[in-house]
């Protein structure tokens, strides 16, 4: 058996769980997991991408039944390891019930609602949508190392 260079697999999960801090970190109030929310963004805003750092209301959808900041993401199942890939997927669909969103939107920002600055986690895009007195549902992919919504491979 020989030594092998590697990004240790468990460390990928530990990063997702906030157990490493190679730079300035924050004082956490508890060991409990953070609350994440999902906010929808209009097509015309067009600036939600890898450079997004925090949640903001610029370009966020508005309409009947939608509350700014979006919906809470269900995180019953925390990050897991599948072979050498850490993965995390919300454990339930994200549902915006009985909303009217007349201006086209095509992105959802998942962000940390517990953090003081509402740190951005990920952006997911889909075909341009509008909703009229209906539901908007985001159904999650299978939570594994191949299709999980957020992965560190």
């Amino acid at each position: 058996m020989s030594n092998t260079q590697a990004f240790c697999s468990q460390a990928k999960v530990d990063l997702m769980n906030g157990l490493h801090a190679m730079g300035s970190s924050v004082i956490r109030a508890a060991t409990t997991k953070d609350v994440y929310k999902a906010a929808l963004y209009e097509v015309v805003a067009g600036d939600k991408d890898a450079t997004t750092t925090v949640f903001n209301t610029t370009g966020e959808v508005s309409g009947t039944g939608y509350t700014s900041g979006g919906e809470i993401v269900t995180t019953a199942t925390g990050p897991q390891l599948d072979s050498t890939t850490a993965h995390f997927t919300p454990s339930a669909s994200i549902v915006y019930s009985t909303v009217t969103l007349s201006t086209a939107f095509d992105a959802v920002l998942i962000y940390n609602d517990t953090s003081a600055t509402k740190l951005a986690l990920s952006v997911h895009t889909f075909g341009s949508q509008t909703v009229t007195a209906g539901d908007f549902t985001l159904t999650m992919p299978t939570d594994d190392g191949t299709t999980g919504l957020i992965r560190i491979a």
Binding site: F7, F126, Q129, T132, M140, P141, L149, I150, I152
Partner: protein, 137 residues
């Protein structure tokens, strides 16, 4: 009273079991069974507890929220489903439009007016960070 295989019977002497066998965008179909709560002798034959004495399917048409602030039967509306299926998503968007002109709060809404649109997006694509450890030398 319910008409069973034994004739008219009081509902209270039976257990009813409801099973949803279809639950689609347009309708729910329930299968309803009535079974004996107690053993019964009828015309010289014994029928144990649980004997199925009557069953039927009940169809309930779905209703959808509308721009009018109340739900409407889907039967009164024209339905169209837009489907997007690509590497990023599988999306279904059911739309319901007025089949006939409707007046609501003094406003005329012509046939074809969009009164309900939902969107159900199945996300397929992950966001991935690649972990790498550098080799020295």
């Amino acid at each position: 009273m319910i008409t069973t295989i034994f004739g008219e019977m009081d509902e209270n002497v039976m257990d009813s079991i409801t099973t949803i066998i279809v639950d689609s965008e347009d309708e729910t179909v329930e299968h309803i069974e009535y079974r004996l709560k107690k053993a019964l002798s009828h015309e010289g034959a014994d029928h144990p507890v649980g004997t199925l004495v009557y069953d039927f399917n009940q169809v309930r048409k779905k209703r959808v929220n509308t721009i009018f602030g109340f739900k409407m039967d889907v039967d009164a509306l024209d339905k169209h489903i837009e489907v997007i299926d690509n590497e990023n998503e599988l999306t279904q968007c059911p739309e319901y439009r007025l089949r006939e002109e409707r007046v609501h709060d003094g406003i005329i809404y012509p046939a074809g007016t969009l009164v309900h649109r939902s969107a159900h997006v199945q996300l397929k694509k992950s966001v991935v960070a690649e972990g790498a450890a550098a080799m020295f030398g």
